[in-house]
């Protein structure tokens, strides 16, 4: 399946874009997604940490991603 990944803050700078596309297997997890992204964008590993959100909720590493899910990379937040 094709997964579109939104990027914000420093992640947008690292991807060079606010959205990137990945080809993943149908049972892919957040863990798999992070691995793939870090292969393609090694600077992600230099962040102090980052989370992944699926459909506007923070996701856990074992959570599965489904086609048409809204997936987003959430670098350390700094609002307020």
């Amino acid at each position: 399946m094709k997964i579109n990944v939104l990027a914000f803050g420093v992640a947008k700078d690292i991807f060079g874009s606010g959205e990137v596309s990945l080809e993943m297997s149908n049972d892919a997890t957040i863990y798999n997604l992070k691995y793939l992204l870090e292969q393609q964008y090694p600077r992600l590993k230099q962040l102090s940490s980052y989370m992944v959100a699926v459909n506007n909720e923070y996701a856990l590493p074992g959570d599965t991603i489904h086609e048409r899910d809204e997936v987003a990379i959430i670098p350390p937040v700094s609002g307020g």
Binding site: V10, N56, P75, S78
Partner: protein
């Protein structure tokens, strides 16, 4: 504010002119807007569960802000001030931890996404 309200605590965040001694020229805030709004609702819901508060306002600006401008306002009304103070403090502390909003500080020698790197 309602007629049952005895007190309102308001926190107003402002853009400071320096970070660790370095002069800040301006700030740029970016939000993942639908999730930011959903996380703010969650924080408010948790505050309503934990304290006897009456009304909650959470406001956050995005885009370019100058020194002295106000990125964030939290206001909480309650019959008694303890609840208003505690809930207001909880909301701003939690907002800074969970709401997907990012701040880029502009210094004279370049821009930095706050908290992005160790």
């Amino acid at each position: 504010m309602s007629a049952e309200s005895g007190g309102i605590d308001v926190f107003i965040g402002t853009v400071r002119n320096q970070t660790k001694g370095k002069k800040v020229l301006k700030l740029d805030f970016e939000a993942y807007e639908p999730m930011a709004i959903s996380e703010m609702y969650k924080i408010a819901a948790r505050a309503f569960e934990r304290w006897p508060v009456q009304k909650i306002l959470i406001h956050h600006r995005t885009g370019l802000l100058q020194v002295g401008e106000v990125p964030v306002i939290i206001a909480v009304s309650a019959a008694h001030r303890d609840a208003a103070f505690e809930a207001c403090r909880y909301i701003i502390d939690t907002l800074k931890q969970t709401v997907p909003i990012w701040k880029k500080e502009s210094f004279e020698d370049g821009d930095v996404w706050v908290a992005a790197h160790p």
